[in-house]
């Protein structure tokens, strides 16, 4: 017998607690093309090369036949935001930011048979924005924020973004900040066991208690611990030895900064 818990996520009341509603995210596959993996949404520094166009507003656009990469410098902050614009259908593009593989560990549990239903219900209740992004991804919704997969340079990565119509010639700051903010939130809340348990009260008990949570998350290998163990996700996309603690701090600063910008608009 199914337990019904109705959650209004703005999509009408949906059956929460059913992992099948969110376990088949959209996948955008660029495998046939010679592209490199998407860059993580935030870079500590960046000097792009190639077919580069510099605009006057601190934005550098890198053009390729398959996508445009927007490098957005944060004034007064140590960091560059990265957004991608990619043809999707005949009448739409995808505008997105990559969180690389940092969401994979948590998604494995969210979509898995052992804890998926309980975790999905928890996400729907405690983090409805994330639940909506996964639901829209599953449904391939247009114009709605999604959390989906990209395959670029032989790497399956996670992205936060939405479709935009090809007739649209510019993007509002609101849209840009929204995507970057959501991407950073996904990264910060799901890449740290402590942050995850804060974002999802009840998360630890669903997975069987603190020791089991830590062991399970480490076993997946896709999450970073608060002490800075390197997962496969972030380390590869930064050149040299990444300062993980610095990355978290910068991400939180930028998140606060862009959040302030959003409120001002």
């Amino acid at each position: 017998m199914l337990r019904y818990t109705g959650v209004d996520t703005g999509l009408g009341v949906v059956m929460a607690g059913e992992r099948q509603a969110i376990d088949s995210p959209l996948m955008v596959d660029l495998s046939p093309f010679p592209v490199k993996p998407a860059l993580f949404v935030m870079q500590q520094s960046r000097e792009p090369k190639g077919l580069v166009e510099r605009t006057g507003e601190g934005i550098v656009v890198v053009h390729t036949p398959w996508y445009q990469e927007f490098n957005i410098r944060f004034v007064g902050l140590d960091g560059v935001g990265i957004l991608y614009l990619m043809p999707y259908t005949d009448d739409s593009y995808l505008l997105f930011a990559s969180v690389d593989q940092t969401f994979e560990g948590f998604f494995t549990y969210l979509s898995g048979a052992d804890f998926g239903d309980e975790l999905t219900k928890l996400v729907a209740l405690q983090w409805p924005e994330l639940y909506a992004m996964l639901l829209h991804s599953n449904r391939r919704s247009t114009g709605q924020m999604m959390l989906f997969n990209t395959v670029m340079g032989g790497r399956i990565q996670w992205a936060v973004g939405r479709t935009v119509p090809v007739s649209q010639e510019e993007f509002s700051n609101e849209t840009v900040l929204n995507i970057i903010t959501l991407a950073l939130e996904v990264f910060l809340r799901t890449s740290d066991a402590v942050a995850l348990s804060e974002a999802l009260p009840g998360f630890v008990s669903v997975l069987g208690g603190p020791d089991l949570v830590t062991r399970r998350l480490k076993a997946i290998g896709g999450l970073l611990t608060a002490t800075g163990d390197l997962g496969t996700g972030i380390a590869d996309v930064f050149q040299g030895d990444p300062d993980i603690k610095g990355i978290f701090e910068n991400a939180r600063d930028i998140l606060q900064h862009v959040g302030t910008l959003r409120k001002d608009r």
Binding site: P34, K36, K49, L51, H63, P65, W66
Partner: protein
């Protein structure tokens, strides 16, 4: 170099076969070798394969199409997808061959006391970028046309190699991917291919005249 006749070349080339400018490993097909150059043909085309070393070949082909004879070399599909962006971008001194080609200017190659104009252009039907030089108006390959194609294959090959070696200027980072270079059976990393194209270009004693 002795005179090579088109009809004496073995007919071991498929009509729609378009050899990449860089070849590697024996293809196992029958060929006529003259002065370290391998020849094989179809009805309207013949390959000119300069045997370099260690199995590497620098390849061009003579083609008779629409009442004209050309000698051409294929720089492969890598640059073809970039063409619209190249045409929309300003000239860049780090990619002189591609900049000239995108501006529909001929690439001038100098060597052996002469200059040869080479056209670099995409071939959307074949999905590749070609470097080519017009030989003569004709409906068949005379011995003289074969000799001209052979003699001018080197500046055409070098132009294709130079175009290819300018690819890194288009990207932030050369992607870590493999590309096929021989009948889709032989794959090499793209970075290796670009190194080989630069080295092979340096071995050819023709120069790009800016």
């Amino acid at each position: 170099m002795g005179a090579v006749s088109f009809l004496k070349m073995p007919r071991s080339l498929e009509e729609d076969e378009l050899s990449f400018v860089i070849g590697y490993a024996p293809h196992g097909r029958q060929e006529l070798v003259d002065d370290n150059i391998g020849y094989r043909r179809s009805d309207y085309k013949f390959n000119i394969e300069h045997l370099i070393q260690d199995g590497w070949r620098a390849q061009a082909y003579g083609v008779c199409a629409g009442g004209n004879v050309f000698v051409a070399a294929s720089a492969g599909p890598l640059l073809e997808q970039w063409w619209p962006l190249l045409k929309a971008s300003p000239a860049n001194s780090t990619r002189p061959v591609l900049s000239a080609a995108a501006a529909t200017e001929k690439v001038v190659m100098t060597g052996m006391g002469t200059e040869v104009e080479v056209t670099v252009m995409p071939s959307p039907e074949a999905g590749v970028v070609l470097a080519l030089h017009y030989i003569e108006k004709a409906n068949y390959f005379s011995d003289d046309a074969v000799a001209m194609c052979t003699a001018l294959s080197l500046p055409v090959i070098k132009t294709a190699l130079l175009a290819l070696s300018e690819y890194p200027t288009l990207v932030d980072e050369v992607p870590d991917t493999n590309v096929a270079i021989a009948d889709d059976d032989v794959f090499v990393p793209l970075t290796t291919l670009l190194e080989v194209s630069t080295e092979m270009a340096e071995m050819i004693p023709w120069q790009h005249k800016p």
